[in-house]
Symmetry: C2
Subunit: 247 residues, 2 copies
DNA sequence: CGCCTATTTGATCTGATTCAAACAATGTGG
DNA sequence: CCACATTGTTTGAATCAGATCAAATAGGCG
């Protein structure tokens, strides 16, 4: 029913989840020119050492930032859902220090740096929201440091599931207590610094404890309070506005 | 000889290490009004949950960002040397999601948010450098994630020592291959997600392997190539300008 | 149906933690 | 200037969480 939402709809929802956006600004975002491209699963969008000339907006799908170490091990730094601009940093840091890749088939919008810069100049308040967004990113990284360094495997996985849930809910992408999670256990392992085997056992324990149910590429939270407690999860670091947090 | 440098001198050096700064901008920075205060060792400058109304510049000393977990464990996210503005983020994120504290007696400059905002408006290019700086912060966090999640204790400590060295050198605070490191092993443990005991043993091994010498609150790098190799250290993620990197 | 990828299970091994105590360095007050 | 307290470093022994290795099972899908 009705025409499909413009590609920038998810971006508007995202920005509104972290700061107020005026009508005029909303319209400017809708008018923001971008090239939309579909990218297949497990494909790099931007690579370590690249010097991107555009930013990319996740319109549909799921992406992640990661790095591959000399020994071949992979570390995932963050997952990116529709509305995220994972390489906003390339506006100010010319050379990439990590990769950005898809986890599932994605629809990605590309915005040339020059366009983005003009846009920020014309709408400085949105520029500030962008800055704010990159600062939240940094907060997420700090939380991941804490998670990996100081929590045991069970807590780690619980925490990650909480984060995904709250972010997806704020983006309007959760269905009650259920959300799509097309992430393999190997990828969860690369994100949490654990082995696949142990991710599996931790998930089993979370299920056994009645905190979650996990089916085919999706998760249902059975006991939200319990899951938060298990992961010592406190969403403050996501700096979401109250309405996005409650959602 | 001559008068002491103005408190903003370290800030200028820092900004120049990550982007070019014009004469006019340099003068504006020197003129930037700030309140200077000496803060004693092991004291919090800003606390988790605070809503700061000013940013702080490390003029002298060493500070760190950290969080304390429910169980009482502490995680250190970053060390901050003269020239750093560790809570620049508070300009855009009203509530703190971590603490900022001193590790040694520090001289700190406080710049009211309103002043900083006006300054950025008047000197947008410096605003961009500030943004860039917070993006580099995020890069450092990512590297710490990698370090903690994917490297063993020996590598972790080596990597951290490399990072400190390169940053201090870029700030003009290294003396050849020697630099002040008034960080206890317990603090190194809190930064690397290890136990004090193991930090100690890793340091001993680094010494035994002839990579470093460490004396009273200082470190001397005996074998720079070896130390970098041991820690898989690659300074790209610090996004320093070539001249600052070479220093 | 058969191939490929993802999940699950079991057994073993190890890097790092924990606990406990000695030792060294530094500072403090008498 | 020394006794004492305090904080940081070092050492040893026991233990454990999680990695690793290996193999079985379960889903998707062409």
């Amino acid at each position: 029913m009705g025409s499909p939402p413009p590609p920038s709809q998810s971006l508007i929802v995202k920005l509104e989840s972290i700061a107020p956006v005026s009508d005029e600004e909303r319209q400017a975002i809708v008018a923001l020119p971008m090239t939309v491209r579909d990218i297949r699963e497990d494909h790099d969008i931007v690579r370590d050492q690249d010097r991107p000339s555009q930013c990319c907006l996740v319109i549909e799908g799921l992406a992640c930032r990661y790095k591959v170490l000399p020994g071949g091990k992979r570390q995932i730094f963050s997952f990116h859902i529709p509305g995220d601009i994972p390489d906003l940093q390339s506006l100010h840091l010319d050379v990439m220090d990590h990769n950005l890749g898809t986890l599932v088939p994605c629809r990605i919008g590309f915005i040339p740096h020059e366009t983005a810069r003009q846009f920020i100049r014309a709408h400085p308040r949105i520029g500030d929201i962008f800055w704010r967004d990159t600062l939240i990113d940094a907060g997420v990284f700090r939380e991941w440091i804490t998670n990996i360094a100081r929590r045991d495997s069970y807590q780690r996985v619980a925490h990650l599931l909480c984060e995904l849930y709250v972010r997806l809910r704020a983006a309007g992408l959760a269905n009650g207590r259920t959300y799509a999670m097309p992430i393999t256990q190997a990828e969860l392992a690369d994100a949490t610094g654990m082995s696949t085997v142990h991710v599996n056992r931790s998930l089993q324990k979370l299920r056994g404890d009645g905190l979650i149910r996990s089916g085919k590429r999706s998760v249902t939270i059975e006991d939200w309070d319990g899951l938060q407690a298990a992961g010592e999860f406190d969403p403050t670091y996501l700096h979401l506005r109250p309405q996005a947090l409650a959602a």
